[in-house]
Symmetry: C2
Subunit: 194 residues, 2 copies
């Protein structure tokens, strides 16, 4: 099935809306077709089934995000600036698109092992961006040579992810972007007083 | 419905096993009854439905955990020791009971808003333990007065939670407890080199 074109994009964007509004399990292909303004049969020219829609939308949106984030990070000089950019872009992307935030923070947390593995293979592209940043920080001497890079990845991703989930479940009543600087500080310096 | 007794405990423990093995959505009450060696009808003397079983098992296990964790933390002198104890106990509890880890890391991540709210009201008891530790650290001057206590909570819980999920999805092939010290260091001192 072809994976580009105007209709493909329309279906992907309709799927984000329908999944955010109804939940993945209640997001029938026919609902997505209606939202995208295409016939049910048209969906199957592009996607095998509902699971393929979920995986494809995550791959599509994540691919776009990682490409832009990587470019923007490469334009920064210091590793601190690069980390700030990563935090900012992660929060900005989800703050500007609450439907996408519902999908990433709630609906992609699937427990079915086969589905979860497909989701995590896509997430890996983002985690590799974090890993490169950690490697660079250690290499340049900005980050401690003693840190375990995998655990540093868990701390960075875990902190950002938990921050976004809380903001979402608090009905987005505060500005997520106001958390960028204090979280950067916490990740760089930890809890201890200097 | 009564919420104590030998049969109640047997049903709770059977539910952990069945939910871990089959997933929450495939964990029919009859499967849980069979695993607990009780009649289907017996379950309904204690629980309204499957959702009530999930919520009750989380409340039960979390209540026990928080009670013991709070006592053990109170026995420690410095806030660093208290934080180490918290990390250790969080990891130990789930490392010794992989079925419980599947339930907490995968099956309790429900997207249905009403169910999720009930889950998070229970999680709150644990988060409050983390909050008290942060307050104490700031009050005693061990933690920086500049940290935002809520964001510090997200960092601590998010880092531990992400570490456990990765360990679980890596099929538990390394010792989770070997991560206690390096994670304590990361949380206290952050990424930066001293
Ligand atoms: C719609 C898109 C929107 C656009 C973007 C918006 C902004 C940003 C994005 C927002 C976030 C989106 C989140 C959506 C998430 C859904 C999934 C979640 O729930 S996420 C939240 C929950 N989190 C998750 O679900 C993430 C779960 N993680 C994973 O599934 C995997 O890490 C992986 C598949 C991502 C990579 O896997 P893999 O490539 O295999 O490898 P690793 O590198 O991990 O490991 C390398 C080696 O190191 C070993 N090792 C590791 N740790 C330790 C240790 N501590 N001690 C000792 N050893 C350790 C390990 O065993 C391995 O050895 P071996 O096996 O090769 O021998
Ligand atoms: C089976 C048990 C096993 C035994 C134990 C084993 C070991 C340990 C346990 C393992 C973990 C188990 C995890 C299982 C988890 C399932 C759920 C998840 O997915 S968890 C992973 C995903 N995480 C989650 O699902 C956690 C989601 N969190 C929550 O749902 C809530 O925080 C809450 C319900 C827990 C507490 O809520 P609440 O009591 O209402 O309050 P808050 O204090 O949060 O906030 C206080 C006020 O501050 C405002 N504010 C906050 N932040 C900011 C900010 N940055 N800027 C500005 N303002 C901010 C906020 O709006 C509020 O103001 P207002 O509204 O009063 O005006």
């Amino acid at each position: 099935a072809k994976k580009t074109g105007e209709k493909y994009d329309a279906i992907i964007n309709a799927a984000v809306k329908v999944i955010a509004r109804h939940g993945y399990h209640q997001a029938q292909v026919s609902k997505i077709a209606r939202e995208a303004n295409v016939a049910d049969g048209t969906i199957y020219l592009y996607f095998e089934n509902k699971e393929d829609i979920l995986i494809s939308l995550f791959a599509e949106k994540m691919g776009q995000f990682v490409t832009v984030a990587e470019q923007t990070i490469n334009e920064q000089t210091t590793v601190e600036e690069k980390l700030r950019t990563l935090i900012y872009m992660h929060f900005y992307q989800l703050a500007k698109d609450p439907d996408l935030a519902v999908v990433t923070q709630l609906e992609l947390r699937q427990s079915d092992p086969a589905l979860r593995q497909k989701i995590n293979e896509i997430l890996k592209h983002y985690l590799q961006l974090i890993d490169k940043l950690i490697q660079l920080g250690v290499k340049e001497g900005a980050f401690s040579p003693d840190i375990d890079p995998l655990l540093a990845r868990y701390m960075i991703f875990g902190t950002l992810d938990e921050s976004v989930t809380n903001w979402l479940l608090k009905e987005r009543k505060y500005d997520l972007l106001s958390n960028v600087e204090p979280i950067l500080r916490l990740l760089l310096h930890g809890l201890k007083s200097a």
